[in-house]
Each structure stands twice: as structure tokens, then as C-alpha cells.
Amino acid sequence: MTCRPKCGSDMGLIVKTSARAIIPLIGIFGAYIVMHGHLTPGGGFQGGATIAGAGILFLVAFGLDEMERNYNKSLYSALEGIGGLAFLGVAMLGMGTAFFYNTLWHSGPFFNGKPGTLLSAGFLPIMNLAVGLKVFTGLVSALTAIAMYRRWKS
């Protein structure tokens, strides 16, 4: 059976229906972990990996054809770069004192609320969002590349 690169590689009806119900929930949970990274256990890496799990579940359940239709390589590359650059840029904000100085928390115009609220902790929420975006797009890109450019015959 040589139908490389595309076989009809999607799973059955039950798996697809369950995945359609579960993927949004996984995404919401991952977004919660990323957004509350400075308040609760977790953070950018963990939440990004959780959201990437939703993307990988989509790839596994719906197959490579559907993934290729919905996956935009240049968009994901750009988002990963933007995540890394936002991380560096926010770290640069405190250059007046030191690299990685949390100037938004000490004297910033925003993100300096009471500790424990969502809009507190200076650059930590922005950094969590940047790292989460980077990890999510990076892992989904890597898994899609592995699935798309495989060299073994099925």
C-alpha cells in the first residue's frame, strides 16, 4: 500500500465526534493555565504544551489531510517568532536598571495591581503569554512536520 504522503488517515466517527467536543475544552484549560501563570501552578511552557496537545489531538483524530487544510505554515512560523521577540522585548523594558528588571511591577502604568489579581505581577503575564504562544506553535509545527514529511511507507 503506497499512498504516500496522504492516506485516508483519519480515525472513526466516534473518535472524531469526541475530539470535536474535547478539543475546545483542552484549549480553554490551556489558556487558563497560561493566563493564570503568575497566580497558580503552571505557566507558559505548561499551558502552551496543553494547547499543543489539543492541536495534536486534532491531527491524530482528523488525519493529515484535514490538518493540512487548516494549518498555515507561515502563520505559525510568524507567531513563534513573535512569541520569542515579545519575550525578549518585555525583558528589555527594564533596561534602565537591569536586563529582566520587572519595571512594570515597580513603577509601571499597568499590570501593577494588588498581588493575586489577574492584572498584577508586571511583565509576568506578558511573558507567560509569549512563551505559551511560542511553545504551542512550535510543538504543533514540529508534530505536523513529522507527520507530513515522513519517510517510512505505510
Binding site: H38, G43, F87, L88
Partner: protein
């Protein structure tokens, strides 16, 4: 019989580990009590000053993104490089297309 013996030996090993890990009469890894504070002052510094200096309730996030920010930058760079390398290696080669 063999299976029962295997489970019993597993249980015995678990008991030995539990005995060793007990801080009261097992192995002691480093000093405890008041001496702990004089030797591991860095941990205590993060716990007492992290909320005031960085502002996050999650001390781990405070350490990872502020005190140890360079480490996180290196980690992000490693991730970026790994994915760029993986995609560059896995993409179809000119040899395969012909």
C-alpha cells in the same frame, strides 16, 4: 508463587525506601532545623522576597521569569533551534523528489 514472591519483594523494597526516607531515624540529607536557614538562604530569600520584588503569587514563575530569566531565554532559544532543525531536517530532500 513466583508472582507472589515478586510482589512481596517489591513491598519489602518499598518499606526499606520508606524507612530510609523518614527524616526522624533514616538517612539525613543535609542539616535540618535552624541550620537549614543558614545554609539554604537562597530558598528562603525567594520565599520571603519573591512576592514583594516580582509580584507573582506563584514563586516558581517569579524565579523562572525574573530571577532566572537568562535561563528561560536559553530554554526558549533551545526550543526554537530544535524545532527549526527538526523542520529543516524532515522536509523533503532534493534527492527524494527525483
Amino acid at each position: 508463587m513466583k508472582r507472589t514472591l515478586a510482589y512481596l519483594s517489591l513491598l519489602f523494597i518499598l518499606g526499606v525506601f520508606l524507612y530510609i526516607a523518614n527524616p526522624n531515624y533514616g538517612l539525613v540529607f543535609g542539616p535540618g532545623g535552624k541550620e537549614w536557614l543558614s545554609l539554604r538562604y537562597t530558598d528562603n530569600y525567594y520565599i520571603t522576597h519573591g512576592l514583594k520584588e516580582v509580584g507573582g503569587m506563584n514563586i516558581v514563575t517569579d524565579i523562572v521569569f525574573d530571577y532566572r530569566g537568562y535561563d528561560t531565554i536559553g530554554e526558549a532559544t533551545v526550543l526554537f533551534t530544535a524545532i527549526a532543525g527538526a523542520v529543516a531536517l524532515l522536509r523533503p530532500w532534493r534527492r527524494d523528489e527525483s
